[in-house]
Symmetry: C3
Subunit: 273 residues, 3 copies
């Protein structure tokens, strides 16, 4: 299954429209190229709809959210729905400010979102209208651990049912759920949190996997999350003593570039419930 | 000739004002520093004219184009013309949306553009008012190959004559043309298309070469294009098995940093017609 | 002293709100993570105040200044003052345009700025209302050398007294001054000027050091400056023959990531007057 998801990305070179923050946008572009997709970024309300029309999928990321580009997100999202393009929503900082919380809620309500990708605090905010987001990182009290896993998976399935979107919660353990099934994914490395944008890159890659695998969105999302975590592991093992988070960033993208189907299948660590 | 072009860049440290997209802007800045120039970025209409006035050249790039900064492009371009500064226009995504297509056309019509740098789809759009731009990459049907080279070179010369600008079309083979002469450049590596922003970096570097070599704009442009392609080759040969597009990005800029006159002259592969 | 400053950053993970330029913002984020802090970026006037409220410190950087985000700087700065958060002002390009010069002056006048970090031309502009900023680099005529050091240190202390802020002037020799005392810091490497954003990264890191060490702002600022210079030295010594400014950028951040208290204390080269 995982093999086929990756295969289809590399085979079809999905073109992804990203309306995203200016902090990690370059890494999102290179990560998309690395996984086999192709990036385009356009955030002007006058430009976004037409750019969406030539793409295959849409990635909406709320980092450095500003009022100028919010209308572009809605216009692009509406056009994407018309064209049956998958849409990923990354509610960066939902819970940290009302602009982000409200915009994330409005996007989820009014657009046909295929998948939401955030940390537990952001996703809880979106689901419950409250949360304890500490900046762009999840609150420690909310962390997904072995103890809270079953409960969080249950929460994710219920939110998936309610929102009709796949819910992706990333953390020490990652959860990918639709209304019925949950992937609990153990790939990844704690040092990934010391590289800005690993979450943003994953959201962009998820859009590529969803676009290339339109009939199996849950599997496509799980494959994207597993690929990112696995590449984080492989990149970590390449690090020598003097290398830190800047080199790690490059190695992660390098691993995405070289990831092949056998490595993905063999390195995947997950349970499907 | 090539030696002198590079020599003059390193000797004069041209300061280049870039109004460019937020995806690849950091790489443009580091590429400018690497080649011997110096970057400054200012995109506010209230700021652009004064910043242009302290610079030596201007680079206008339409990636992530937004209506807020378009007036800054015109203001900076007008001031640059007054001061006889060279202007490079990089019509990223022309053909992909009307905002980009129209803005590129208006900039070319109303400013004294020294050189246009784009892929074949973007440049065709600008020349003919139509094209088949697939995102920010050229359409396969438009690719420059040995078969279409003579025809594309002819097109470039005619467009150069009409626009009074040097026309730079990059692809598997690069073309640099004025109304009379054409450089067909064979340097480069296909993997450069897997790094976001190699085209943007080239446009920025071209502005530096043009600024440092005001009396020989065609040669300066050709030298910039050759240098980028050659550095792409040299960087590719440094890549080890595990290294992918992120490391390649760094190696390309590193090679630009270390490029010396002998390596440029010795590694250049081109024909002048 | 230096050991404790770094220790407190790593111990408390200060969350820093950055309103900064889109050229070097990714490096600022990774540098903050590397030093032990955590970054968040929000530049919309509707978002900035709330984001500041969940952070510990604020970093205002005037690169790619635009009129849309200036109100966000004032709103964030006012909220930061209410909460007793330290504020760093990096007046990028002050002296190069009136928008930047005026905005820097207004921010310094109306906010409770804890530290100003710039090159000598920018800081002179801010202090004297004039200067000779060449783009984002200091004018050669203004360079801090052994000959001009005593005079520049005197200038810095007077400006610190007048502005009630710590004055950080970076160059071949770095100066960190309050009204009474001056650190003259000899760490650093000339090649740092070939990497875009080393100054911006330092400003972000300084905000983290100030936030983690609220009772000793002069020492915190000096430690931040020393750490950056020292990491520039250590990174330079790692460079092999083929490695240029792109790799150097990564190595600098890697060194910040691995910097430990003993290395900082042992490698520091400064005088306190």
């Amino acid at each position: 299954m995982l093999k086929k998801m990756l295969h289809n990305v590399r085979e079809t070179t999905p073109l992804i429209h990203n309306i995203t923050n200016y902090v990690t946008v370059n890494d999102c572009a290179n990560a998309l190229l690395a996984c086999g997709g192709s990036p385009i970024m356009a955030d002007d309300p006058d430009d976004a709809e037409e750019i969406t029309a030539i793409c295959g999928g849409l990635n909406l990321n709320l980092g450095t959210l500003n009022v100028r580009t919010i209308p572009a997100m809605f216009a692009a999202g509406k056009k994407a729905a018309e064209l049956n393009h998958p849409i990923v929503l990354d509610p960066v900082g939902a819970g940290a400010s009302s602009l982000r919380t409200d915009t994330a809620a409005r996007l989820l309500d009014s657009l046909k979102i295929t998948a939401v990708r955030g940390n537990i605090s952001e996703v809880k905010t979106l689901a419950l209208g409250s949360g304890s987001t500490k900046g762009v990182d999840a609150d420690v009290a909310d962390a997904i651990t072995a103890e809270t896993l079953a409960q969080t998976a249950d929460f994710a399935r219920k939110f998936a049912a309610k929102s009709n979107a796949i819910i992706i919660i990333t953390g020490a353990i990652d959860i990918v759920a639709d209304a019925d099934r949950t992937y609990c994914i153990y790939n990844g490395n704690p040092m990934m949190s010391k590289v800005t944008g690993t979450g943003c890159m994953l959201s962009a890659i998820t859009a590529a996997y969803l676009t290339a695998n339109p009939s199996t969105p849950l599997e496509a999302s799980a494959a994207a999350v597993i690929s990112m975590g696995l590449c984080g592991e492989l990149a970590f093992h390449r690090l020598t003593k003097k290398e830190g988070n800047a080199t790690y960033r490059n190695y992660i993208i390098d691993e995405i570039y070289h990831l092949d189907e056998e490595t993905l299948e063999g390195g995947a660590r997950y349970e499907l419930h």
